[in-house]
């Protein structure tokens, strides 16, 4: 809040040092907390303590350099005893509590000083807490002086405790249960006296599950097959077919690519392409399709190069560390500053993607909301200290030589032309600029490379706690160690030059007993199947993240994942075949009036959540309906034609080179080049992520530019023409067949009589192209029921 330069950052370091000392000294039994009302300690832990810590501890805690007014606010005793002016807190009597007068700015008191007044809701929470008797989890009753450190308290947070497989709950309506997932969901609903929604129709379920697993609509053949398969195992057959499809990886890899903010260029000024970063995309697709165990998946990405330095797959996995934004500058890039930025970027994404913790805040100061100290942060970064870029050349020597020769020759020519620019007339300039662009485009693709990483012990960056995150301000030296809240106090740091440091981090993360890794990934799975996770904040399992709607179910799934050998497909399968997943998204409004009122977010899953197609699905579904989809999988990314003005907005327009083979333009969206400084308009309009920071869950907004994109945009019109041509071909232009076929291909169902009549009326003299375009613009096309 205040200028951070005026706040001695050392205080923070002292605070954590003391907290850790306290942690060592208080090994005794945990004292009973003073409970007054259900939410007392909870209120303290969640709402009061963070404010005290962030706003008051600098001057009013054991860690304060100079104690303000003789008052400490870090234990209940100290608050009751008060400071120079008397007790800060009088339990049950807010109006007699000085701390409230101070934060309310009454009677000449105004705390925190020189800062904006605390918000009214926060002040109200303090009032409520004191009214409730000021229960304080961190201290004992008056008969004991045991003080638990914030770290010890934080270890009690649900997500930091071990996963314990809970028993599957008993429910009244056993008929509804298809597998244990349903028991957990139904138990919650029954506790409210609610009923689950009736099942979706078979056609709805097929459309839902097909988009969910493959990101594509069911084909007419698949629709037919399912319509005719009335056996009890029909659904299982569909799910098994979909999970075995190569399109599964093409859909589910995208979710992971969102989380790790995958892109193929570095962003910033030059937005330089990372050579062959697509190999990471293919690695993730392959890992999904092969159902590589998630623990292995973690280890390969974090430490593939250490694990198996010559294995192509492990090398490709380690591209993980290369896909973040990197700032490169002309002139005198400060090596140490840039290095610090690179390491920070690489550290933050590990916290977000694997731990589900926003560690990044602790780069500059002890985390205000989470039990992550600045020291924890730099200890985490220390695992990466020796990590350097390592572009592995996998082309033959001849290929490389040819490429280098061609490149340097072209560069010479470009240089010569650029020299001519000076003193050229406007007309000459324009011609020269075109020539230069053409030349730059003529450089052939980079020879095969894996943009991997490796450890270079000689260039290891010594790690220090950096005051305010500024690399020049070095504090205490640190070595690798996981965040303190997740390991015993007795665990020492590793030596800074320990061999294979990232393997150690990865093995710790991927250990079956790790409390976060399994919970975080099964929650991501759940989120993509149901639209919202059991924990809504999929990247934030910390004390300020969302609390799980079904904590037992989350733990049951996490335990099951580990039992399944960390294979995700069995978890997908169970979810997809559950009755919970089968529910209708549009149950009768009258029978669901109560849950709709009490649980408008549908956290307890009293119905299924309809969802809009994601950006890539919108395009892929249009490709699929029009029959133009090129199902080729893997390989170099494709640049598609885009409006010239968009390319002109690039700092180097020659970086966008449209693929020469037009069939490549019809590849699935995951295979299009993900360039940080050029996002396709259709993706941008439909909430594709920014590619610059981790995206745990996509927005789903509704606005006019989406309509303009689908009505007038190049992709939609091009594919509507192709769709129209297909309809003409397959129905010989017979209007009634055109309408039925069009609905089946685009919406996966026959038209209702009313829809059919409207469409036929339109087609009496309206072009089929416009009918096809209209189908792409229907709610029934853009939403999965």
């Amino acid at each position: 809040m205040t200028d951070p330069t005026k706040r001695p950052a050392r205080l923070a370091a002292v605070a954590i040092a003391i907290a850790i000392t306290l942690a060592f000294s208080s090994a005794g039994p945990i004292a009973p907390s003073l409970v007054a009302g259900d939410d007392g300690p909870h209120l303290y832990r969640e709402r009061i303590a963070p404010v005290l810590k962030a706003q008051c501890y600098t001057c009013h805690s054991a860690a304060s350099k100079k104690l303000g007014a003789g008052l400490r606010l870090d234990s209940r005793e100290a608050m009751l005893e008060g400071g120079d002016s008397g007790p800060a807190v009088v339990p049950g009597k807010p109006d007699e509590s000085l701390i409230l007068q101070a934060i309310r700015h009454q009677d000449g008191l105004a705390m925190p000083p020189k800062k904006p007044k605390l918000s009214e809701p926060t002040i109200a929470e303090f009032t409520r807490w004191i009214q409730a008797g000021a229960p304080f989890e961190g201290s004992g009753s008056s008969t004991t002086t045991t003080v638990r450190s914030p770290l010890q308290m934080a270890r009690e947070h649900w997500a930091f405790r071990p996963v314990v497989r809970p028993p599957v709950p008993e429910v009244a309506d056993r008929e509804w249960i298809k597998n244990p997932i349903d028991a957990f969901v139904l138990a919650k609903l029954e506790s409210k006296g609610w009923r689950p929604a009736p099942p979706a129709s078979r056609a709805e379920w097929l459309r839902r599950v097909t988009f969910d697993i493959t990101g594509l609509p069911p084909s007419p053949d698949e629709l037919d097959a399912f319509e005719h398969d009335r056996s009890p195992a029909a659904e299982e057959r569909v799910v098994d077919r979909l999970l075995a499809s190569p399109h599964f990886g093409e859909r589910w890899a995208q979710h992971w690519l969102d989380v790790v903010r995958y892109a193929e260029s570095e962003g910033f000024e030059y937005d330089r392409h990372i050579p062959e970063a697509w190999r990471f995309r293919d690695y993730v697709i392959d890992a999904c399709n092969a159902d590589r165990p998630f623990d292995r998946f973690v280890i390969e990405q974090l430490a593939g190069d250490e694990l198996s330095p010559t294995d192509r797959r492990c090398q490709a996995a380690s591209i993980f560390h290369r896909i973040g934004p990197i700032r490169r500058n002309a002139g005198n890039p400060e090596i140490a500053l840039s290095r610090n930025e690179v390491l920070t970027e690489r550290t933050d994404i590990i916290g977000t993607a694997f731990l589900g913790l926003t560690v990044g805040c602790a780069r500059c100061h002890n985390h205000k909301l989470e039990p992550i100290s600045q020291k924890d942060y730099y200890r985490l970064e220390a695992y990466l200290a020796a990590t350097q870029e390592n572009d592995i050349n996998i082309a033959t020597e001849a290929q490389r030589k040819t490429w280098l020769a061609k490149k340097s020759q072209t560069q010479q020519e470009v240089k010569a032309l650029k020299a001519k620019l000076k003193g050229a007339t406007e007309a000459e300039r324009a011609r020269l600029i075109l020539e230069i662009a053409a030349l730059e485009e003529s450089i052939p693709p980079h020879p095969a490379t894996i943009p991997a990483i490796r450890n270079d012990p000689k260039r290891r960056t010594p790690m220090y706690v950096l005051k305010r995150g500024v690399w020049e301000h070095k504090g205490e030296a640190v070595g690798p160690r996981p965040p303190s809240v997740l390991v015993p106090d007795s665990l020492p740091e590793l030596p800074p030059d320990v061999a294979d440091p990232r393997t150690r981090l990865a093995r710790w993360l991927a250990s079956p007993s790790h409390p976060l890794t399994s919970r975080v990934i099964v929650n991501r799975l759940w989120q993509h199947h149901f639209g919202v996770g059991i924990v809504k904040t999929a990247n934030d399992f910390g004390t300020h993240g969302d609390r799980p709607s079904h904590p037992e179910l989350l733990d049951w799934l996490a335990a099951r994942l580990v039992d399944e050998g960390w294979r995700l497909k069995p978890i997908h399968r169970m979810i997809l075949l559950s009755a919970a997943y089968r529910q209708s998204s549009h149950p009768d409004a009258q029978t669901t009036a109560v849950p709709a009122r009490d649980d408008p977010e549908n956290r307890l899953l009293w119905k299924f959540r309809r969802r809009r197609l994601e950006a890539e699905e919108v395009r892929d579904a249009m490709l699929s309906a029009s029959g133009r989809l090129n199902p080729k999988s893997g390989g170099p990314s494709v640049m598609v034609p885009v409006d010239r003005a968009i390319i002109a907005a690039l700092y180097k327009p020659s970086q966008w080179q449209v693929a020469r083979d037009p069939a490549e333009h019809d590849r699935r969206s995951i295979y299009l080049t993900a360039k940080r400084n050029l996002r396709l308009p259709i993706f941008e309009a439909f909430d594709a992520p920014s590619l610059t920071s981790s995206c745990p869950r996509r927005e789903s907004s509704t606005h006019a530019p989406q309509a303009l994109e689908l009505l007038n945009g190049r992709t939609a019109n091009d594919l509507a023409s192709a769709f129209a041509a297909r309809l003409r071909r397959e129905t010989r232009g017979v209007p009634s067949q055109t309408v039925r076929r069009g609905y089946r291909l685009a919406l996966g169902r026959p038209p209702t009589p009313r829809e059919e009549a409207l469409a036929l009326e339109f087609l009496r003299d309206g072009p089929i192209e416009e009918f096809a375009l209209a189908l792409f613009n229907l709610n029934g096309f853009l939403y999965v029921p």
Binding site: Y651, R676, T692, R754, L758
Partner: protein
């Protein structure tokens, strides 16, 4: 994106940001330094302290300016001879001579100027403002960026975009030429009566199955109505052909070198007149010397860039004022940094972020004053330093928004434009 209530009564309804890409020199424009001319060719005296530039090294020589300054208007604010037209509007300007940012390289400084962060991925001012206030226009986008037709700036598209905010707050990037908005024109071979029929078909087919209580589906259907209005009404707003000759002349339209920037400034006026919330008009793009990035020759570069923009900007201010629009339109001028007192390659100036000038006008701004100061050679701010986040906080304030209440949850934090809290520039408001 309907209008939303402000946090407090607003002074300004819209904002036009005249973005001078590349970093215009404060020393050649609004911050005269006679001592710099006296020290020309010498090394910087030690007492001015040490700074880091991008290219210039520690032993560079100071570079005096060839510009002459004069006092203008009732306020007597000094403006250089680069801006003879703008000088006539000086009583409307609050010239902030003590701006500073954290970064000395383009892309990072541009991100900080536009988003408050030195890395890409956060929403720009324009997106935040639309998120806070919604749009007053039924047929135009709420947030428009008009890039320089010469090309991109270093930070690229991510600098203007909505970051982690929903896509509804994205900027509409205007293209050069007569048809600036992507997807606003019908595709080739489709005429308007036909398209109207298609839209009716879409509505009727959607209505055939929609639940009357389904708000999301109705919102989507309404988005099509809005899209159609944009398609039919926006071209009229974008059409400058009915503007009188006198107005075109005021902006320098039809004459070089002012035609392009003049057209875009006039377009900006027409947009805010029709309820657009945030318009960014960029001067400079493509290669560095086509921006204000005068590394090799400050004279050549700034004479050229000023000649392109001086009349259009003055025209915009005068035109807004005579239409009574200046009171409700905040106009902000500035770049991502200023330039070094030292010479680079003998006649140019390097980037410099520790003290430079921005100005604000209209929208409730107290004009006719200078605020803050740099030291005697224009190296560092010595009086009332204002960071980009202070500029952001002030812009939000004038628009009726409170920086700490305009938040959006992202990755575990309630993010805001100003990151670390900004202080309001009290002199301005």
């Amino acid at each position: 994106m309907a209008p939303k209530p402000q946090h407090h009564p607003a002074r300004a309804r819209s904002i036009i940001f005249l973005y001078m890409a590349g970093g215009p020199s404060h020393l050649e424009t609004f911050d005269p330094k006679p001592l710099l001319n006296r020290l020309h060719g010498q090394r910087r005296p030690k007492e001015f302290g040490d700074v880091k530039y991008q290219f210039v090294s520690g032993n560079a020589r100071l570079l005096g300016t060839q510009r002459t300054f004069r006092r203008y208007g009732e306020s007597g604010i000094e403006v250089s001879d680069l801006f003879p037209h703008l000088a006539g509007c000086v009583d409307d300007l609050a010239v902030i001579r003590s701006c500073h940012g954290d970064m000395v390289v383009h892309s990072a400084a541009q991100y900080e100027l536009f988003t408050g962060r030195i890395t890409p991925g956060s929403p720009s001012m324009g997106s935040w403002v639309c998120y806070g206030l919604g749009s007053e226009s039924e047929s135009l986008p709420g947030y428009v960026v008009m890039p320089d037709p010469h090309g991109a700036v270093e930070a690229g598209q991510p600098m203007y975009t909505h970051g982690f905010l929903p896509a509804v707050y994205q900027p509409t990037m205007f293209r050069p030429g007569a048809r600036p908005v992507l997807n606003l024109d019908l595709p080739d071979g489709v005429n308007l009566p036909q398209r109207k029929r298609t839209l009716r078909l879409i509505r009727e087919l959607n209505e055939a199955t929609v639940d009357p209580h389904d708000q999301e589906f109705h919102a989507r259907m309404n988005a099509y109505d809005l899209a159609f209005r944009m398609q039919t009404e926006a071209p009229e707003v974008l059409d400058l052909s009915r503007e009188p000759r006198e107005t075109l002349d005021l902006y320098g339209i039809g004459a070089e070198p002012t035609n392009d920037y003049g057209r875009r400034c006039l377009l900006a006026r027409r947009l805010v007149e029709n309820g657009v919330r945030f318009v960014c008009v960029v001067s400079g793009g493509g290669a560095g010397n086509l921006q204000w990035d005068a590394h090799s020759d400050i004279e050549e570069n700034h004479l050229r860039k000023a000649a392109e923009t001086d009349r259009p900007i003055a025209g915009l201010l005068k035109d807004l004022k005579r239409r009574g629009l200046l009171e409700s339109t905040l106009v902000v001028w500035g770049g991502e940094f200023g330039r070094s007192p030292e010479a680079e390659s003998s006649r140019g100036r390097d980037h410099h972020n520790l003290g430079f000038t921005m100005w604000m006008a209209g929208g409730g701004v107290k004009g006719g004053q200078t605020i803050g100061a740099t030291d005697a050679i224009g190296l560092q701010t010595i009086d009332r330093p204002y960071h980009f986040r202070d500029v952001h906080a002030t812009i939000l304030h004038l628009l009726g928004l409170e920086q700490n209440r305009l938040t959006y949850p992202h990755l575990g934090r309630d993010e805001r434009l100003t990151f670390i809290e900004g202080k309001l520039i009290a002199e301005v408001i």
